[in-house]
Amino acid sequence: MVRLTIDNHEIEVAPGATLLDAAEQLGIDIPTLCYLKGYKPSTSCLVCMVKDCQTGRLVPACATPAVDGMTIESESEELALVRRTALELLLSDHAGDCLAPCYFACPAHMDIPRMLHQIGEQSIRDAIATIKKDIALPAVLGRICSKPCEKGCRRGAADGPAAICELKRFVADADLASADPYAPDCQPPTGKRVAIIGAGPTGLAAAYELAQAGHACMLFDDQPKPGGRLRTEFHGQDLPEDVLDAEIHQILRLGIDLRSNCQIGAITLDSSLSALMPLDDMHPKFRLHAKHGSTCNDLSGAFDAVLVAWGATDPKQVERRGFQATQRGLAIDQNTYVTNRPGIFAAGNAVRGSGLVVRSVADGKEAAQSMIDYLAGRPIRNHGRIFSSRMGRLSPEEMADVLSRASSAARSEPDCGAAFQLDAATEQANRCLSCGCIAHNHCKLERYARIYGADPRRFGVQRPAHRVIGRGGSVLFEPGKCIKCELCVQIAEQAGEPLGLTFVGRGFDVRLQVPFDGSLDDALTQVAAACIAACPTAALTFAHQHRNPELVTLKTE
């Protein structure tokens, strides 16, 4: 047996075992892209680098045999930097969008391609679930939104963007009109209580998110009816009151305790309550001093967290209430929505002063996600920022290629005030170019880029061309997504594929190819599925997976 130490843990492994095997036995997760059990390590990606402390050298864990007496380090700043650089180098030579441009254009980061695909499949129930995952007020926004998503739509550069906003409204209206409108599943009650001050778009969106997480929400508003600026800034024909009422009702029915006509006087830390709480509960407890109608009452309930969503407020008044202010409103940490008072969060126009309604809805959701982290005792993550490789503008050839796989219908919208019919909606939804990557959330490159905080634009160079090889066949290859891991080459070779795959050229220009100009279907007669499952990115895919993103199989680990 071979004895070695990894991250100060001793381990014994069989002779011939690699450092990766040894780490696995210890439960230490070392990132790998090009490695697959059962195949010869190709040591090409080099994100599995670990440090041999005796020689001071970095070695690939996947292929380095464990040697008696070795001392290995698997996590350090130095290793993180090298791994991040390896990932950034791979991303600098990558042509693909993990997430579609519309994802980033929409402040709420709604999964628009998925929604459009579901509409295209006429699965309205699935579509509303996709929408409501990120947008609490789709019927409202479907009417009043200034549609940043459509400005970001890639098809806008060709023959007009997909009619995203109208289609969202179509789904939301159909849902509200149905006998059993969609309601998300809520987690069992956590016992935690949250106060949300302001029932405008921010507060409503936050309440919707927090309720789903099982937190008890009390929503305070100084007006008789919830909706905040939605009731003052928009008028009847743009936003009929019954639509607003119906959509708010869908939120409140998740069990949200609405306190209308309430003026919040002060939020104080309740030390007496804190003292009574169990020791393991680290959160401060808040008491709200609210004036209800003409009477002033000290709200007896104690809260574990508070969200300030009271809309645009004079900074002086903000300071008077005990918060740090900016010129526009409350000062918060941009990443976490935390104010200068721990446990109190702020979002929407209370912070921004003014902004799009969809921005407020997005803020409410993200602030709520931060609060969920906070209430769970986790470090608060930045929920607004998500890693993605991005292709940016397409060349005319690239555009022609992506247009060829979507409906060629022209953009059309229903006449003023009217709504889509199902057939028209389906046709318009099928205009979506399905820009995001079908391996999103299944791609190893994306996963580790996210973990190591890789910046795809570190080198600021021109990305490779986006091309798809094999159109018309069952297997597709996107050279721009290939990281030259060699797995498919090895799998085909081991299986004795008559044609198989090979690398051609060398150095930076090395690329995967089918010998003698064969097609991918000729190359992979037996092992296409294995190659596609092994592909660490989505360089190799089945054509049918693109027609149904749900079909993306899990990658082999």
Partner: protein, 787 residues
């Protein structure tokens, strides 16, 4: 375009000759390309039908190596050398001139008449002739953009007359009293020593002068070629430099006077003396005749010590008897008769010999490991894939001392217990390949590598494998992949080849020079070898000295000699009176040692301390007209181009580094680019799998270390050395007399003709080809910053 009626019978014949195993792919492809001049698709498919070679393998391998061409080419390929020496001496301008002369459009490489295809090659190892190109077997050196058309004409002329040329007569004169040695290394041949040799033979046969003409290997003094040495019967020796065929008669008759031709001789001698008195030094006539004890030849030879290159310029490379007379195979015989393998390895250990291929790994450890390996089959490989631009030591040793390398290998084989040896020689060295093949044949014929003389059972089989144009194959794991018929990608070590190498067997891989030193060590004793050199670097090292030096050539010096001694004493200092700026040591894996540190000794550790490496032994001397940023970019471009493409850091990292270097050299650099470059360089070095990637950043890091100010100047839009085309402008100063020469020669029509008036260069049209500056008789063209 596929040819419908391509005759594939040659493919069938080749497969029948070479074999059907997957490992035969490279030799088969080489044969196919030799025959069809490229690799026709039908031929490749036919190979797959006939052999075990798969379509994936043949496609992968044939596109990996740059020698293989998948498209038909022009009738003659012009290989333009882009080695370091050629680069600093203006290879780019030669390329421009060729493109201009052959009227090649952008992206085109073949002339419209299908006569010539222009191809850049990494380095042909004739650095003292830089800049140069090769067409077929002819080398045209010391070119300028103006001489390019003449070189092509000369080649065409040579083609026309080649049929008429008489075959070389073998002369065995009676009662010869002297010997005339003509160096016939690649460099010498390129300078016309073949013709000189023929001319001397003609003179001898016509005059009956009492001497024999003899071809010897590289003389080392490449700056003086063609070089003829005459040894008279009393042992006195005279050396003639820059000899032309027309000079042959005079030289021969001056020393070997045929009795019956006295009058003619007297005449000839007086003619020769006249010429000597006129003291022309331009190669148009005999430059100098001097004894070897006179300077500057004396100085050139002075601090040198010849072990690997013993009997330099004295013995006929292929004359086995002569090698035997010069103690050849004595060491092998000793080893066979009274030395155990342990004792041989021990001698190597005591000698302190370290690998001469670059990294300086102790040779005896490799030998010991292979010797101790239990597998019955072991291999021996001589790594002659000398790919560093600016290095030609291995070529010269292989060409000039084939038997010495063979003997070293045979001793190693005996020591480690191997019976199969392979020479891996890069295909850019056809003469080396040819001589090694012939030397092996002669050894086999005489059963030198079999145990005939003593009681030990020893039989050593040698073969030659030619490289196919991939620098990475100098890396031992890539080299073995290529012998096995695979793409020449490097792999992780361990396992080291000594444990698990070629065909998974223990394999001893040493460099050419390492093997060449072995016979000397065993003949003279390890102590004598260890007495030379420094504490940790023993013996001698062969260097290819080139660049901006007065006397370039192939030198062998004891370790410990300083760079300054090499540059100043042996090399005679900087040519053309310019200022010594730096020495590039170790090629693309090495670094630039600035003139201030020229007292650094030749020593593995000392060189690595100053950011260079011993490398395989290229020394390119740079003067103040060389831009260090440009030099760094040159090397980085080389390694980036030669990366096998396997691992991320090397494949993409070197590319990203090069993009930053390109930005800097073209005045588009960002203020933080130096820092970015340094960061990325360190990560590429730490993260790469093999030596190529690990050392690729060295030229960049060492130039940033010593010449950071030059990088900063570039960021501010200036190239202080006036080298980077995008940062300089050519202007005409007041010395111009309006002679119109520049205007007549400008290939870009950038200088309007204004007779008797000062000319003006149109900077928009100017391609910075330097033609005007070189042609101007008044030194009126000057290079300055843009704007």
């Amino acid at each position: 375009m596929p040819m419908p009626d391509l005759d594939l019978s040659f493919v069938d014949q080749t497969v029948a000759d070479i074999g059907r195993g997957p490992e035969t792919v490279i030799p088969i492809l080489q044969a196919i390309q030799d025959h069809y001049r490229y690799l026709p698709r039908e031929a490749l498919e036919r190979i797959c039908e006939l052999t075990e070679i798969t379509p994936a393998s043949i496609t992968g391998v044939s596109t990996f190596f740059t020698h293989f061409r998948h498209e038909p080419v022009g009738q003659h390929i012009i290989h333009v050398c882009n080695g370091t020496a050629c680069h600093v001496k203006g290879a780019e301008r030669i390329l421009d001139a060729l493109a201009h002369h052959l009227r090649l459009g952008p992206g085109e490489d073949t002339s419209a008449d299908g006569q010539f295809t222009v191809q850049e090659v990494a380095c042909v190892g004739c650095c003292t002739l830089a800049p140069l190109f090769q067409i077929e077997n002819a080398t045209f050196g010391r070119l300028t953009p103006q001489t390019v058309p003449a070189a092509l004409d000369a080649f065409r002329h040579q083609q026309d007359s080649s049929q008429k040329r008489p075959s070389r007569a073998v002369i065995t004169p009676n009662g010869a009293t002297g010997e005339i040695r003509v160096g016939l290394g690649s460099c010498c041949m390129a300078q016309g020593s073949g013709q000189v040799h023929d001319a001397i033979e003609r003179v001898l046969s016509k005059s009956g002068a009492p001497a024999v003409v003899k071809q010897v290997g590289c003389v080392g003094m490449c700056h003086q070629t063609p070089l003829v040495e005459l040894i008279q019967s009393d042992g006195q020796s005279s050396l003639y430099c820059h000899v032309k065929p027309d000079d042959a008669e005079g030289i021969v008759l001056a020393h070997f006077r045929p009795r019956n031709l006295a009058r003619r001789a007297r005449y000839a001698v007086s003619r020769l003396l006249d010429r000597l008195h006129s003291n022309e030094w331009n190669g148009a006539s005999i430059a100098a005749a001097s004894t070897v004890h006179e300077s500057p030849i004396c100085a050139f030879l002075g601090p040198q010590k010849r072990l690997a290159t013993e009997y330099c310029g004295q013995i006929d490379p292929l004359d086995l008897d002569e090698y035997l007379r010069h103690d050849g195979f004595v060491a092998l015989k000793q080893c066979l008769s009274d030395s155990s393998p342990e004792k041989i390895v021990d001698a190597i250990r005591q000698s302190g010999l370290r690998g001469r291929g670059g990294a300086g790994f102790p040779t005896h450890i490799k030998w010991e490991t292979v010797r101790n390996a239990r597998q019955p089959t072991k291999y021996l490989i001589c790594n002659g894939d000398e790919g560093d631009p600016g290095a030609f030591m291995d070529r010269m040793i292989l060409e000039s001392y084939p038997y010495r390398v063979i003997e070293g290998m045979a001793i190693a084989a005996l020591a480690v217990g191997a019976s199969e040896g392979i020479f891996y020689i890069r295909a850019e060295y056809p003469l080396a390949v040819q001589r090694i093949r012939e030397a092996i044949r002669r050894c086999d014929q005489r059963k030198i590598l079999e145990n005939g003389t003593s009681g030990r059972d020893f039989r050593f089989h040698l073969s030659v494998q030619e490289g196919a144009g991939a620098f990475i194959c100098g890396e031992e794991t890539a080299l073995m992949h290529s012998i096995e018929g695979r793409r020449g990608t490097a792999r992780l070590r361990p396992p080291y080849p000594a444990e698990c190498g070629l065909w998974q067997r223990p394999t001893l891989i040493n460099n050419v020079e390492t093997f060449a030193l072995v016979p000397w060590i065993l003949r003279h004793g390890a102590d004598q070898f260890a007495a030379l050199g420094t504490d940790r670097s023993k013996g001698t090292k062969v260097f290819a000295l080139a660049g901006k030096i007065a006397r370039g050539g192939l030198i062998e010096v004891p370790m410990g000699v300083t760079l300054r001694e090499i540059v100043e004493q042996i090399g005679g200092g900087i040519a053309g009176g310019r200022r010594f700026k730096a020495v590039q040591v170790g090629g693309p894996s090495g670094g630039c040692v600035p003139a201030e540190l020229a007292d650094t000794p030749i020593d593995y550790e000392a060189l690595s301390q100053v950011g260079a490496i011993m490398g395989s032994g290229g020394l390119v001397v740079l003067d103040d007209s060389d831009c260090m940023v440009d030099i760094a970019r040159y090397f980085l471009r080389f390694t980036q181009n030669q990366s096998c493409g396997k691992c991320t850091f090397c494949r993409i990292g070197t590319k990203r580094m090069l993009e930053i270097m390109d930005r800097i050299c073209t005045g588009r650099g960002h203020q933080d680019d130096i820092q970015k470059l340094e960061q990325l360089a360190h990560q590429v070095s730490a993260g790469s799998l093999c030596g190529l990637g690990k050392t690729a950043p060295n030229p960049v890091l060492s130039t940033i270390r010593y010449f950071r100010d030059e990088y900063e100047e570039h960021l501010n839009g200036r190239c202080p050395a006036g080298k980077c085309k995008d940062l300089i402008a050519y202007r005409v100063n007041t010395r111009c007399i309006g002679c119109t020469l520049c205007s007549q020669h400008c290939p870009a029509d950038a200088i309007p003709m204004t007779p008797y008036r000062r000319h003006v260069i149109d900077l928009e049209k100017c391609t910075r080809c330097d033609t005007c500056r070189q042609i101007c008789p008044m030194d009126a063209i000057q290079i300055g910053p843009i704007g």
